[in-house]
Symmetry: C2
Subunit: 330 residues, 2 copies
């Protein structure tokens, strides 16, 4: 077991049984009468994440009147929604692998991948319906719409060397952080939290999600294929301008360097030596440090949102989760 | 105004104001903060259907305690879900036009089309949430899952010359009829129908939908581009085996003819003269008549489901709608 897995195992020990129950229920609810859907589904499930979304949902519930009957369909729904968006994202990004595994579109083709994503959306709606709470119905719909808007914003701003910090944050809030915010907000909602408490837990998830994405964007520059399952500089290769690049460009970019980056972002050059050169230039600048600082600022805001809750072991775990998200693989 | 439009205008006169309200609400609810979504959305909306689904939903409600506050979001949701599935279908089918208009994927590319479809799913879930009826939440989820399964079944059975009549019906029930059944069932549900009445209206929509699809499949052989906006023999060209072809093959197919059809279905031949020859062969057989008889049988079952309701002008319209679906463009 590596350090990451050991840390998560310790942090999640109080909810381990329910995390396993969520996994089991996911498998049951994802099944279909059609073999190909089951095969593609089992394939997609073969590369599990760190179950961070489920943990956030359950732990938010632990701060109030923990109700596993409601938290179970909610958690399964979030994991399924996340999987549906990954499957469609991989088509949009023409990704061939994710975490070292071939994507659904790589194995089964775009058509099956579109339909499997749609099928998961449908199943997610069924899980949400089981909760029988209209606030959750609206949270689900708003979350899916926001994630779609974030994905489109990402597409539309791809290749833009002059992407502003404001648009970067809008993009990651919509595309990534909003789902984590929905997890903590939803967990609180179904466990009897007050409107003020729900709002605080929403802010916790939102800022945690922003920090999470900034770290992901840093790792894309600092880590290589063996660690994160994709080559360093992947965002650059895909035309994605992220926080480290924005900071590096602010710092000291010669006209030649800007032109080189613009060519890579615009797809006119996919030369691996040039990409490597830009990655090294970003890593050697102060951009990585400044990006970590930005992640830490959002981490602090996530923690601040927890302070309206009475001290408890579960509040401590949510607090530690902020550290985990920020220091992972550093 | 052509005969079809004149007939519908007469049939729908009692619900015309609410049909217009559904259109207007659709436009409002489909809007986004992102320009490209609005442009693609307005484009997709530019080719309206016959509003058959909305009419079925509203008319089912007219049989009971007509409640436009619930029927409005429900009808908009069904039209939006239908549009979402069309947008994703057009990607899967690589369709360049629909009803003579370029498809979203043809104008904006597959990526935007995937995301616009997802965005509509999200918005549909929001409309369903507004109804605040858990039976409708489940009906929505089940309907989307069934439509996905139908689309996948269609894909998986494409090119199969030996498609059975049973599989053909399973495919069209899942892909097309289930949404019409959800319209009449949903309309009845939100207007206070009893479980027995809801079941009867479900059967009405299901059989009407089956008849509708059989007629569509007949028209694909008997009509040309100027009438239905796509060339005759399009299903054949796409590898789709439908009822007219199944009947024609049962009747009298030489080994040469079978081989010719197998080549077209499997994509080994896309020769327009060969496709024309197969279309003519099907049209000149008894297959078209037998397919009309099958559509009429389902039309009769749809009508039968109406007889448990007291006679009324609205029951008469639902009855006439069966004729309309079967005789359109004959």
């Amino acid at each position: 077991m590596n350090t990451t897995a050991a840390t998560l195992s310790r942090l999640f020990s109080s909810i381990q049984a329910d995390l396993d129950l969520v996994d089991k229920t996911f498998q049951e609810r994802a099944s279909s009468g059609l073999d190909i859907l089951n095969s593609a589904s089992m394939h997609a499930l073969g590369s599990p994440g760190k179950r961070l979304r489920t943990a956030i949902t359950l732990l938010a519930g632990k701060l109030k009147n923990y109700n596993i009957e409601k938290l179970l369909p909610l958690s399964v729904a979030y994991e399924m929604l996340h999987l549906a968006t990954l499957i469609h994202d991989d088509i949009v990004d023409e990704a061939k692998t994710r975490r070292g595994q071939p994507t659904v579109n790589a194995v089964w083709g775009d058509k099956i991948a579109i339909l499997l994503g749609d099928y998961y959306f449908a199943k997610t709606a069924g899980l949400i319906a089981d909760i029988e709470d209209h606030r959750i119905d609206h949270l689900f719909s708003d979350t899916v719409a926001t994630v779609c808007e974030g994905t489109i914003l990402e597409m539309m701003t791809a290749g833009q060397i002059d992407l502003t910090i404001e648009t970067y944050y809008e993009k990651i809030k919509h595309k990534t952080a909003c789902l984590m915010a929905a997890c903590s907000k939803g967990g609180a909602t179904v466990c009897g939290a007050s409107p003020e408490e729900i709002e605080q837990l929403y802010l916790y998830g939102l800022h945690l999600g922003v920090a999470f994405q900034i770290i992901d964007d840093i790792l894309d520059y600092t880590q290589d294929q063996s660690t994160i399952g994709k080559p360093a500089g992947n965002d650059l290769r895909q035309g994605m301008v992220t926080l480290p690049l924005i900071y590096a460009l602010q710092e000291n970019a010669s006209a030649d360097r800007r032109q080189q980056i613009q060519h890579i972002l615009g797809g006119q050059s996919q030369d691996e030596d040039e990409i490597r050169s830009v990655v090294d230039w970003v890593v050697q600048s102060d951009a990585i440090n400044r990006s970590f600082e930005a992640a830490e600022e959002h981490g602090a805001k996530a923690r601040e949102a927890l302070y309206s809750f009475a001290p408890s072991s579960h509040r401590d775990i949510l607090d530690e989760l902020v550290d985990f998200v920020i220091v992972r693989n550093r």
